[in-house]
Symmetry: C2
Subunit: 201 residues, 2 copies
C-alpha cells in the first residue's frame, strides 16, 4: 500500500538496497525476484546489474547495509559507567526496543540463522555481535558467576528475541493479552525473569 519513495537514500545504489531490504526480510532470498526489486525501486532489472554483479551480491550488500547502523547502537548501553545491574537493564530494554523498531533487521537475523552459510554467519557473529556479546559475558561474570558466561549471554539474547519472533504464534496461545505485544512489557518481564535468578546485593 504505502509507497515511501526513499527519503534517506542518495543515489540509486542506496535506493536499491533500501528497497531490497524489506523484500528480502519479508519474503526471503529465494522468494524475491530481481524484477520485483527493480519494480520497487522504479528501474528495470537490467539496471540492477550495473550496480551489483548478481543477486547473491545484492543480497549480501543489502545485509551489510541493514547492519551498518546496528553495531553502534548497543555499545553505549553496555559501556556506561554504572552498576552491572543497570547495564543489564539498559541492554535488555535497548535490544527489545531495537528489534521492535527494526523488524526488517530482526527478520534478516532470523533468516540468517536458517539459511546463512558459514561465511555470512561468521561475518555476522564477528562484526556485529562480538563486541556486545563480550560485554554481556563480562556482565555474566559479575552478575551470575555460577553460570557459563557464553550460555548465560545466549540465554539473555534468546529470551528477548524469542518473545518477538513468536509474536504471531503467541496470539493464538492461551493467556495472550494485547499488552504482551508492547516492547516495554516484554522487556520488563524478561528483566524480572532474569533478575530473580541473579545475585543482586
Amino acid at each position: 500500500m504505502t509507497k515511501p519513495i526513499q527519503a534517506i537514500a542518495t543515489g540509486t545504489r542506496a535506493a536499491i538496497l533500501e528497497q531490497a531490504i524489506p523484500l528480502f526480510a519479508n519474503i526471503g532470498f529465494a522468494g524475491v525476484s530481481m524484477r520485483e526489486i527493480a519494480k520497487a525501486v522504479g528501474i528495470t532489472p537490467a539496471a540492477l546489474y550495473y550496480h551489483f554483479s548478481d543477486k547473491e551480491t545484492l543480497y549480501f550488500e543489502a545485509m551489510r547495509y541493514a547492519y551498518a547502523d546496528q553495531a553502534e547502537s548497543f555499545k553505549m548501553a553496555l559501556q556506561l559507567e554504572v552498576t552491572p545491574r543497570q547495564r543489564l537493564e539498559s541492554f535488555v530494554l535497548q535490544l527489545t526496543q531495537y528489534l521492535y523498531d527494526k523488524p526488517d533487521f530482526q527478520r534478516l537475523m532470523q533468516r540468517e540463522r536458517l539459511d546463512g552459510d558459514e561465511h555470512r554467519t561468521k561475518l555476522l557473529a564477528e562484526h556485529l555481535f562480538q563486541e556486545q556479546f563480550k560485554a554481556m559475558s563480562e556482565l555474566a561474570r559479575e552478575l551470575a558467576p555460577e553460570f557459563e558466561p557464553h550460555l548465560w549471554a545466549i540465554s539473555i539474547a534468546g529470551l528477548v528475541m524469542y518473545h518477538i519472533e513468536a509474536e504471531h504464534l503467541r496470539h493464538h496461545l492461551p493467556g495472550w493479552k494485547q499488552e504482551h505485544d508492547d516492547p516495554r512489557v516484554v522487556a520488563d518481564h524478561v528483566l524480572r525473569f532474569i533478575l530473580q535468578g541473579v545475585n543482586i546485593d
Copy 2:
C-alpha cells in the same frame, strides 16, 4: 551423500512426504522445486500431482505429517503425578532432546514463524502447542505465581529453542565450547537458569 530409501514409509504418498520434509526444512518452500522433490523420491514431477493438487498442498501436508507424532510426545512429561519442579525438569529435558533429535521439525517451526500465514500459524498453535502450553501455564502458576503465565511459558520455550536455533552463530561467538552443543548441557543450563528465579520450597 546418504540416500536412505524410505524404510518407514508405506506407499508413495508417505514416501513423498518423507522426502519433502527435509527439503522444505533445509531450503524452504520457495527454494525447493517440485522437480527436486520428485527426484528425491525417484518419480517424475507429474506423478507428484497425482498425490497432491499443487505445491502448496504438498507443503501443507508435509508439515502435518512432520507434526503427526509430535503432539503425543510431550504430553506425558507434563501429566506425570510428580512435583511441579520435576514436571518442569522433564519438560525442558524432553523439549531440548526432541529438538536435537528432529532437526527437520525444529527448522520447519522456525520457518513457520517467519513465513507462516495466519491459517497455518493458528493451526500450529491450536493443534500442536496448545495443550502443552496450557500445562506450562499451569506450572507457572505453581512455580512462579509472580509472573504472567503466558509470558513465563513463552520464556521457557524460547530459552530452549534459541540455544538450538543459534547453534551455528554461537560457534563464532566468544566462550563457545564443544560441549555447548550437547543437548544435556543446554538443558542443564536452561534449567538452572530458570530455577534460580523460581520459588522452590
